[in-house]
């Protein structure tokens, strides 16, 4: 145990109250036993999670463990350079179409280097992952000491495609309702609120609501419904953010737990400084806890109670995370590597935490590549995708080491995609791309029906489950003299999220409609979104 205070609590006989009991219990009992004690006292749902918006208490808690791990690519990922046609089939946008637009400015990836993935849905045509998303074995151009590797070389996510554990959901984005190019241009269909604005598009990807600002995230709304039935007696909230309080994690009653990345051990995250083993410290800590108990009690004004409830959440988390759980797989020491490593540590504690369903939120910046997108092998987006792939692979391998890979699904979100047309930088930083709309998402996990593209056709039934790589073409919003290739999404974030949510356990139609109130707008769209089983 980290804090001497907890140890001392065991030795000293003090006035009993429920919190002290918990404190002692955390040392004396296993965490699972603690959970049942906590449940017995009826504390957890009230204290750690706010008032529950419990829906159905009749269904039994699930027996298996499942987790959703969201990786938010902050700034708008240029997925046009993450998934690229490698084939030369003339009936569908091919590598020539890609390089015709992106080649002259130096933004195109080399055809030979693309890591091939065959796509059954598109007649087994070959596409390619960005060449940094594969194995690091033999990559002499990236030496061991390169910061992007964070001290680890692994296989990346490329070979998970062939293994059927990596799927690509194409051209996903914010949508109020399905839209064709003509409808975009004549304003006959409502567009997402503040299209192309970072903050608004991030909010919408996290809330899944595109018509206006929303104050709850879709992760939070799932937890509003599922926490009580799925995680009775849990020691932590259903949602954990590794990157602060985020819209995605807020529901009407849900407040996600925010923790540091793996740079801080689990048992060092929630630590109150300044407590020793002396009587003065003990008296102070006792009073601190008792005052908080007063302030979470009935009769406390709500505004004060809210502050107290959050502090109590930290206190509960300090008990839940009192012992570090280390992972066995080596994670790269990069920003995203540390975030996913921390997620893996928490998942490893799932039994102690008494949770059956968890949602995690990670966020990694730098994707707003107006310029400097491809300056060197490990800089710009090249480096971002390298670090993403390496970290995702380490995480997948760790889940496999924990034998839980079939219960954990990792997926990406991003503000938006970027213009197919290169942005010619005037600041000397090299070529990049500008804000656009639809982009491709990655889904990785043991349960994923991988090795394929998923997505929807256009509203009118045309299309190929992949945007037509032509500026001013049928998927481009832009008209006029210099269209830049901003793909109108064919799958809405709400559709994408709903598949993840169904697999997670939001199976009740009523719940699904409340979590995704706009989903009905897309029912008419032909959809090939079975990238996860529905149960």
């Amino acid at each position: 145990l980290k804090s001497g205070f907890w140890n001392l609590e065991l030795q000293k006989v003090m006035k009993h109250n429920r919190r002290e009991f918990l404190v002692k219990s955390s040392c004396a009992l296993s965490m699972a036993a603690l959970a049942s004690q906590a449940q017995h006292f009826g504390m957890m749902s009230a204290l750690a999670h706010g008032a529950d918006k419990s829906a159905r208490s009749d269904a039994a808690a699930p027996t298996d463990y499942r987790a959703l791990v969201c990786i938010f690519l902050d700034g708008g990922n240029d997925s046009n350079n993450m998934i690229v046609p490698k084939h030369s089939d003339a009936n569908i946008s091919n590598y020539a179409a890609y390089t015709a637009v992106r080649g002259p400015a130096g933004l195109a990836l080399s055809q030979a280097q693309l890591l091939g993935i065959n796509v059954p849905r598109l007649g087994n045509l070959q596409y390619g992952l960005h060449w940094n998303m594969g194995t690091m074995v033999g990559r002499t151009d990236i030496p061991d000491g390169n910061g992007s590797l964070g001290g680890v070389r692994n296989a990346g996510i490329h070979d998970l495609w062939a293994a059927g554990k990596l799927a690509v959901v194409t051209n996903v984005g914010t949508l109020v309702r399905p839209m064709l190019r003509a409808e975009y241009q004549n304003n006959s269909v409502t567009k997402p609120y503040q299209l192309y604005s970072h903050s608004d598009q991030q909010f919408q990807m996290q809330s899944s609501q595109s018509a206006s600002r929303s104050y709850t995230g879709w992760g939070g709304r799932i937890a509003d419904f599922r926490n009580a039935p799925d995680n009775p007696g849990a020691l932590v909230p259903m949602i954990t953010s590794i990157t602060g309080a985020q819209l995605f994690t807020n529901g009407q009653s849900t407040r996600g737990l925010a923790i540091n990345d793996a740079g801080t051990a689990l048992n060092n995250i929630f630590v109150l400084n300044g407590y020793g083993n002396d009587a003065t410290s003990i008296a102070r800590r006792t009073a601190l806890n008792e005052i908080r108990a007063l302030e979470t009690g009935t009769g406390t004004p709500e505004m004060i109670k809210a502050a107290s409830t959050i502090t109590e959440q930290a206190n509960q988390a300090s008990l839940a995370f009192a012992v570090q759980n280390e992972v066995t797989v080596a994670f790269p020491n990069t920003d995203i590597g540390r975030q996913l490593k921390q997620v893996a540590r928490v998942i490893k504690k799932r039994t102690d935490l008494n949770v059956k369903r968890q949602i995690f939120f990670c966020r990694i910046g730098g994707y707003d590549t107006h310029s400097g997108q491809v300056p060197t092998v490990t800089n710009g987006q090249n480096g971002l995708l390298l670090r993403l792939s390496q970290a995702m692979r380490a995480f997948y391998d760790e889940m496999t080491a924990q034998s839980i890979q079939n219960g954990v699904t990792m997926f990406t979100l991003s503000d938006f995609g970027r213009t197919f047309d290169p942005a010619i930088a005037t600041d000397g930083n090299g070529v990049g791309s500008d804000h656009a709309w639809g982009s491709h998402m990655l889904v990785v996990g043991g349960a994923v029906n991988g090795g394929n593209f998923y997505g929807s056709l256009r509203k009118d039934g045309t299309g190929n489950y992949f945007p037509t790589l032509v500026e001013g073409g049928p998927d481009d919003t832009d008209g006029g003299g210099s269209p830049r290739g901003r793909w109108i999404p064919t799958t809405s974030v709400e559709q994408y999220a709903s598949v993840l949510a169904r697999w997670y356990g939001v199976t009740d139609a009523n719940e699904l409609n409340q979590v995704f109130p706009n989903l009905g707008n897309f029912s008419a769209v032909q959809s090939q979104l079975g990238f996860l089983p529905t149960t």
Partner: protein, 807 residues
């Protein structure tokens, strides 16, 4: 709503109270002994203006009282359709919830001021699962037969529906709040009066009184009010501020503040080149390139970071005499948001110009602020106006000036509540309108033609100091190429009485005899268009309630009653053309009945202290000073004499860990959203947006750092570390508390002092007992017991959730 029956009595009550208040504010013992005549004289001299500003309503006697049955705590209520204007004689029954179901409940002990009606009241219902619903209050009127009791018409329907709608599930508890004070709670049957919900502990029946409740005999605790005021109008209490307020009262203090300028000069940070390596105007390596290169590093810290701006801001807040300007300017920063670190190599000088604008207009006119901020080139950079041209129009600034800086997304009533059409909100604008407004803001760019036109322009540096100017972009504008500014017609807002609902296309912009003439015509047209457009926005009916509510949220309370918003918005509108409009608005906010009063008991009153407030309030409370001595290599060292024992203001690293990096909000949506609803409640609590489990413990650890330690100064020896980030450090002085601890072995003197000075006298007996137990755990005979007892008590009070909330 007629209040004639109660008016006279109100004023008398107010006068009594006000006399007491002002006496206390005078704080001079000898005057207290004078006769009545003298008292009245003082009352008029000191408090006349306060009185005229509707402070009459300070006649808050006690909390409002909801009327129950004679022998139970069940609400007396009647179906609104069946109400005859009198107190019902029969006992209540159950009522069915629904959006068209209305009941009348009854309240006494409320005295309304003119214009104060249903929108000053909130009624909440808590069901047995703990869910709380905010029921729509539609009307309030005095009873025909007893003017001291009011009937309140309530719709059994949650007006914002955050927790869904109440069901016909049996008893709920009703609470009424008014001016930040709560009533007792009474039981109320929804669907059935099933007795399933116990009343509050110690609740007693509150039948309607047969005579007006006495109002004269209550103690007005000015300490609590003054403490709250020092947090609303300043960065928390200090001994000097408290003394001044006791001496001259709130209103005169506010007037005095209007003429104060920053105590600490703005940091002297000349503009530098965009590239820090620039040999002439950047911070290039020093000659000989020593390693580490202290001169270069100092230059970069000063110019290419917010370090000096942050320290200046903290020092102003901690020690400045211009507390009110700083407080309002800080609030305006969080409305007109820019981020100092938004750009790579962003310069402090860029941001400084923006801060000066906030300061300049904090006590000025909002329209002038809109104008100067619109032309500010740093704002232009932050929200892309500097790169918006006719051919590549950028919607960012036009969008945000409407959405965040002036009118908001939905049409509002004067009291700030959304107007509804068939139950739905009415958007203030659509995308087409954005396109129209965007045209006006095209063609402006940084002023970079060198002095004298652009006095602050330097080679290789972006001039984010001088206002933007229109860059027509072509020497000889023509109809086919009029340049960067869009000279076509614009269709702006067309509300009743709107100035400039349209701006016609420029007719003389491209027909001049020479190109130069056309360029001047286009510039004139563009300038005129922006002025017309800002008038069109400023005079929108939304602006007053939208801005007023934001300012109230930043200064006083997160979820003000609509009546409060309306009172301030009316002042905003009445002073629309006044060069000191903001002074009237600030007075209206700070002297309002919902801001003042001895204590506030409503569950949703107040605001979580944002990290900056938490840090500055706490530090000021305990005489913030430079750090104490530190030991370096076994030698005791003290901060340099130049520090004059004052903090250096290097405190941003602390607030940053609490998610408030001063001057660097993560986006134009500020450090936190003004609309953030605390999860699990129906309470708007913007600052809760950045409070989570992680920051909750870090708040406590900040208090620990200051109570049990300090922010050390960086010791400088020889040539080592010549540019310390913390030249003086920061610590607090607990001597006063320590003396109280030494004087009283029970600790109660000290605890009562902390209760009064930190919590406005609102500490419960149980809370005091917990602190006392912890204090008494330190034996009096123990070494340093007074110091340790003082620390123990201060830590526990400052880390309490009660202290986290300003109220």
């Amino acid at each position: 709503l007629k209040q004639t029956g109660t008016k006279n009595k109100n004023k008398q009550g107010a006068k009594t109270i006000l006399t007491r208040l002002c006496l206390k504010e005078e704080g001079m013992e000898k005057r207290r002994k004078n006769g009545l005549k003298r008292l009245i004289g003082q009352y008029f001299s000191v408090c006349l203006t306060m009185f005229l500003l509707s402070i009459s309503a300070l006649a808050e006697s006690t909390d409002p009282i909801l009327i129950s049955e004679a022998k139970s705590v069940r609400a007396l209520a009647v179906d609104a359709n069946k109400w005859d204007g009198k107190l019902p004689t029969e006992n209540t029954e159950a009522f069915y919830p629904g959006d068209d179901s209305r009941v009348v409940i009854f309240v006494t002990n409320v005295n309304f001021i003119d214009g104060e009606g249903a929108d000053s009241l909130r009624v909440h219902a808590e069901d047995r699962t703990g869910k709380i619903y905010r029921l729509a209050v539609e009307d309030v009127r005095p009873l025909d037969d007893r003017y001291w009791v009011h009937g309140v018409t309530v719709r059994l329907y949650d007006e914002n529906g955050l927790n869904g709608q109440p069901g016909a599930d049996g008893d709920v508890l009703l609470r009424l709040t008014w001016r930040g004070m709560t009533s007792n709670r009474v039981t109320f049957g929804l669907g059935t009066a099933d007795g399933g919900m116990k009343g509050d502990k110690r609740a007693v029946p509150t039948p309607a009184p047969d005579a007006p409740p006495a109002t004269a005999d209550f103690a007005y605790n000015t300490d609590g009010d003054r403490l709250r005021f020092m947090q609303q109008a300043a960065f928390g209490p200090s001994a000097a501020l408290e003394l001044r307020l006791r001496r001259i009262g709130a209103e005169r203090w506010i007037n005095e503040q209007f003429s104060k300028q920053p105590t600490f000069p703005y940091p002297n940070i000349p503009l530098k080149a965009d590239n820090p390596d620039d040999v002439t105007n950047g911070c290039p390596p020093s000659a000989g390139n020593p390693n580490p290169d202290y001169a270069r590093d100092l230059c970069r810290r000063t110019h290419y970071s917010q370090y000096e701006m942050q320290r200046w801001m903290f020092r102003e807040a901690l020690y400045g005499e211009d507390q009110l300007r700083r407080r309002v300017s800080w609030a305006l920063h969080q409305i007109w948001v820019t981020g100092g670190n938004a750009f790579e190599n962003g310069q402090a000088r860029w941001h400084l110009e923006y801060v000066k604008i906030l300061d300049r207009h904090a006590f000025g006119n909002y329209r002038q602020l809109m104008s100067e901020m619109t032309f500010n080139s740093y704002m232009g950079n932050y929200l892309d106006m500097v790169r918006s041209t006719r051919r590549n129009p950028n919607e960012n600034y036009p969008r945000e000036i409407l959405q965040l800086f002036s009118i908001g997304l939905d049409e509002l009533n004067t009291n700030g509540t959304p107007k509804l059409s068939n139950g739905s909100r009415i958007p203030t604008y659509d995308q087409n309108k954005i396109v129209e407004f965007t045209k006006v803001f095209t063609g402006w760019q940084r002023c970079e033609s060198g002095p004298p036109a652009c006095p602050n322009d330097i080679p290789n540096g972006s001039n984010y100091i001088d206002p933007m100017i229109l860059n027509v972009g072509v020497g000889t504008p023509s109809v086919s190429n009029p340049g960067n500014h869009d000279i076509s017609a614009k269709s702006l807002f067309n509300y009743p009485g709107a100035p400039n609902p349209t701006i016609p296309a420029c007719t003389n912009c491209t027909d001049g005899p020479t190109g130069a003439q056309d360029v001047i015509d286009i510039r004139n047209y563009a300038n005129d268009s922006i002025n017309k457009t800002l008038d069109n926005i400023y005079n929108h009916p939304n602006t007053a309630p939208f801005v007023s509510k934001l300012l109230i949220q930043h200064l006083v309370t997160s979820d003000p009653s609509p009546a409060y918003v309306a009172r301030v918005a009316n002042v905003f509108n009445a002073n629309r053309t006044s060069p000191t409009q903001m002074q009237a608005v600030i007075k209206a906010i700070l002297l309002d009945v919902e801001a003042r009063g001895s204590r506030k008991t409503a569950p949703d009153y107040g605001k979580l202290r944002e990290p900056f407030q938490l840090a500055t309030n706490f530090l000021r409370q305990f005489k913030v000073r430079a750090s104490g001595s530190i030991t370096v290599n076994n030698v005791v060292q003290n901060p340099p004499a130049a520090c004059q024992n004052r903090s250096d203001g290097f405190i941003n690293p602390q607030t940053s860990t609490l998610s408030q990096n001063v001057w660097n909000p993560p986006s134009v949506f500020n450090y936190f959203s003004p609309e953030y609803v605390i999860p699990g409640t129906d309470i708007v609590g913007p600052e809760f947006n950045i409070m989570h489990a992680g920051t909750a413990f870090r708040r406590i650890n900040f208090i620990n750092t200051m109570v049990y330690g300090q922010i050390n100064f960086d010791f400088v020896s020889g040539t080592n570390n010549p540019n310390p980030n913390a030249p003086c450090g920061t610590s607090i002085d607990l001597t006063e508390v320590q003396n109280l601890a030494a004087a009283d072995p029970t600790g109660m003197q000290m605890i009562e002092w902390l209760n009064r000075e930190m919590l406005g006298g609102q500490m419960s007996a149980a809370f005091k007992q917990r602190v006392r137990t912890a204090v008494e755990a330190i034996p009096v005979a123990q070494a340093n017991s007074a110091r340790d007892r003082a620390r123990q008590a201060v830590y526990l009070v400052a880390t309490s959730s009660q202290y986290q909330v300003q109220r």
